[in-house]
Amino acid sequence: MELLPEFMLFALLGGLGLAIISAPLGVFMVWQRQSYFGATLAHSALLGISIGLFLQVDLTLSVIFISMLVAASVFALSQYKQLSSDTLLGILAHSSLAFGLILISLQDNIQVDLMGYLFGDILNINTTDLWLILLTSVLILLFYLKHWQSMLNITLNPELAQVEGTPIKRVQLQFVLLLAFMIALSMKIVGVLLVTSLLIIPAAAARKLSQSPEQMLLFSILIGCISIVGGLMSSYYIDLPTGPAIVMMATILFLLLQLKPQANSFK
């Protein structure tokens, strides 16, 4: 077996890193029913690209900045509860997508590989991306070492958690910002359209195997890693588009696990 070329090693490293950091965020998205929130952030990332192009600044940074800005505003708006968060997210997701596309179309002299952002370009991962992924994983690790229990309690019942002394607003805001950061990063790998699936599908698949939140986290990491390796390999050897191949692998795993009887049985 011949050694993989360098770009494949980079893709593999980046992908595995991403699978590992998306699991701890993904499980809470599943538990808190926030998958639509992830989609909104992903869509707004496109606005980040067009603004980055417009202002001629580094695209990764502008995407991260805009995503975090949108995340923070959704968080602030959700405190008012005048509109259902579902409606709010629907408006934000598609309006930011529309503004992003318009802003790009206004700049005719700039050539941008829009398809790369929609569907990802994992084979183009560079060292900066790898460092950013490493930085994110450190941030996420620190966050959960401190707030794993708090996040579980907030998921169970925010009011109860607050009465019991959890600083719920601070913890939730940190979570949301980390999520925005992670989504901005992973856009390059699976693309705007498939970012959420990398967060949601491994976590959902892990449910069948788990009897505790921690188990679900570990299985989710495992399933994410298998999907990355499987997706990359099928892309390398049978020339499938990489981002979709990764999501397809995760989906196949999810479907296979649905055949398994529920782990959580009555006692």
Binding site: R33, L156, P213
Partner: protein, 285 residues
């Protein structure tokens, strides 16, 4: 027993709150002392839940102040809790998460927490057989006991219960109220609860606060149940032990708030008394 204690666990003064233009609470003052059971009753929409949330610090009132004893430990039992089926969690883990001394993941992996409180409380509430069951699979009545257990294992100074017997069968209701009564003597904690069920509650309560946006009346159950304002809201308890469901007819209730309090409340109680309930009640007295 009712020695005049100056110390209080929680004291609220002149709370006023409104959502938008709708006034929900007007000028409410109350205090809770150790070992005291204060029960909040009132018709639907009277602002009971809002008042509770304000007292718990979940909502900031428009006006008024709340002072708490320093380092007051509050055990809270929410009215309902919905846990997504995708979250794998046993009843035991749910209870462990309520323990105060486990805040970070390190504490969890150390595992060295004091489980005696969980064992004792679940034993007394008769839910120890549920500990390894997924929390989404327990019944409504079992869930109420689990929530009560979670509030109690924190060994609170103040126990706040939002309709603690919702969904519990009649026998279970009496058991839970008796247990709550026992808890306040054993732990010496103060208890604030919201309830619909006047009869079982009245037995142990030290002070009843009858709420209908403002405090209609308050005091010891016996005196409150004889006050005219209470009777206007809830009917005459002494000869209507049989009624159980309390229906408040919103349209028939007119309130004029201001310097003068005038009430014209017509009450509709369910016509058919629940026999079983009556017997239960008599037995317990």
């Amino acid at each position: 027993m009712q020695s005049p204690q100056l110390n209080y666990l929680l004291k609220a003064e002149n709370l006023t709150h409104s959502f938008g233009n709708t006034a929900v609470l007007q000028n409410i003052s109350l205090q809770i002392r150790p070992k005291e059971i204060v029960t909040l009753i009132g018709p639907n929409g009277a602002g009971k839940s809002t008042l509770l949330k304000i007292l718990l610090g979940l909502i900031k009132p428009n006006q008024g102040t709340i002072s708490k004893e320093p380092n007051l430990k509050i055990g809270f039992m929410p009215q309902k809790i919905q846990i997504d089926p995708t979250l794998p969690m046993t009843v035991l883990r749910f209870l462990e998460l309520g323990l105060r001394n486990k805040s970070s993941v390190f504490d969890f992996f150390k595992g060295g927490y004091d489980s005696t409180m969980i064992e004792k409380t679940t034993d007394e509430l008769d839910i120890s057989h549920l500990l390894h069951k997924p929390i989404q699979k327990v019944s409504g009545g079992e869930m109420q006991r689990i929530l009560l257990a979670r509030a109690l294992i924190r060994e609170p100074d103040l126990l706040v219960l939002d309709e603690p017997v919702q969904g519990v069968d009649l026998q279970g209701q009496t058991e839970i109220y008796n247990y709550i009564n026992q808890v306040r003597h054993e732990h010496g904690c103060g208890i604030l609860m919201v309830s619909h069920d006047l009869h079982v509650v009245m037995k142990h309560t030290d002070e009843v606060l009858c709420l209908n946006q403002h405090l209609c009346c308050s005091g010891h159950p016996t005196s409150v149940s004889q006050s005219s304002e209470f009777q206007a809201l809830f009917g005459d308890l002494s000869d209507s032990i049989a009624f159980y469901e309390h229906h408040h007819n919103e349209d028939a209730c007119e309130h004029t708030h201001g310097h003068e309090h005038s009430h014209t409340c017509a009450e509709q109680h369910s016509e058919q008394p629940i026999k079983q309930k009556t017997e239960q009640y008599k037995e317990n007295n």
